[in-house]
């Protein structure tokens, strides 16, 4: 009997916590012979998305790509297939939309308890909280 977690979504933001989430996802994927989809969202404030000069900001997508590349290497070392996806937008909203999309067929979302927002260190991160409430799939919070 195997777990029904064939496709695992791991949102990454480059923080230590998200890497821990990735490690956990790799561990689960090994047991259930699943694949990992890493999603990295570059935070773009709403106004820039429609602003004519918004594209200037997109040059820093390289940082996001770098995060995904290092994740790919990390997964490949353990023999897990990882597909990366980079988006620009609001992190919480886009992660939830990606996970709920039936085409992607996500079975499990693995997320770090806290990301980059260091102010709210004691509490659950705002993005994690948003994802937790909006995603209609099982969510694993890694502490």
């Amino acid at each position: 009997m195997t777990i029904k977690t064939k496709k695992i979504l791991v949102p990454l933001d480059g923080s230590a916590n998200s890497i821990r989430g990735l490690d956990m996802a790799i561990h689960i994927a090994r047991e259930s012979q699943g694949t990992i989809t890493a999603l990295s969202v570059k935070s773009v404030p709403g106004i820039y998305a429609i602003h004519p000069l918004g594209f200037l900001d997109f040059s820093s997508m390289t940082e996001v790509k770098k995060t995904l590349d290092s994740a790919k290497i990390r997964a490949a070392k353990k023999g897990i297939q990882l597909t990366g996806k980079a988006l620009a937008g609001d992190p919480g909203f886009d992660i939830a939309r990606f996970a709920n999309n039936k085409k992607n067929g996500i079975d499990l979302v693995v997320i770090g308890a806290r990301g980059r927002g260091s102010v709210k260190e004691i509490f659950l991160g705002s993005v994690s909280n948003y994802v937790l409430h909006k995603v209609k799939k099982p969510v694993l919070i890694v502490k």
């Binding site: 561990h27 937790l132 694993l140």
Partner: protein
């Protein structure tokens, strides 16, 4: 079986008798088979309810009986899958007790349903699940 640090050795499954907690139990049994982990079942009798002083004792007894029944049912389900689970019955605040047990038993994972018996927050995440997500020390899997 590889021995990485984030192995799920002990899984805590808080139950409340709702169908969501049954779902959580189902998932817990699957994970336990895959990862060869122990399961601890927990039912918490809530003591902080605003109860009538006179009926209080009787009401708590009824809740305790219900808790024992729920725990027995759950461990029977697990026994069919050849998993031996440890059952615990506690009294007090639900979230506080779950956290206490998780700490005491060194649990690696808590599995909860996304909502329980509270009907007001039907569209949202249940209050217990939410509080656990905010404050628990170990990882949390929320089944939807």
């Amino acid at each position: 079986m590889n021995n990485t640090s984030n192995n799920f050795k002990k899984i805590l499954v808080p139950l409340d008798g709702s169908k969501y907690s049954e779902k959580a139990l189902q998932r817990a049994s699957e994970i336990s088979i895959a990862f060869d982990s122990k399961i601890i079942l927990l039912y918490v009798v809530e003591k902080s309810l605003p109860l009538n002083l006179l009926d209080r004792k009787e009401y708590l007894e009824i809740l305790q009986k219900f808790g024992n029944k729920t725990l027995k049912k759950a461990s029977d389900i697990l026994l069919k899958k050849e998993i031996i689970a440890k059952t615990l019955l506690k009294e007090g605040n639900i979230v506080a007790e779950i956290e206490k047990v998780a700490k005491k038993e060194n649990c690696d994972l808590i599995i909860v349903g996304n909502k329980g018996l509270g009907s007001v927050t039907r569209f949202l995440l249940g209050s217990v699940s939410n509080k656990l997500a905010q404050s628990s020390q170990c990882s949390l899997l929320i089944i939807k």
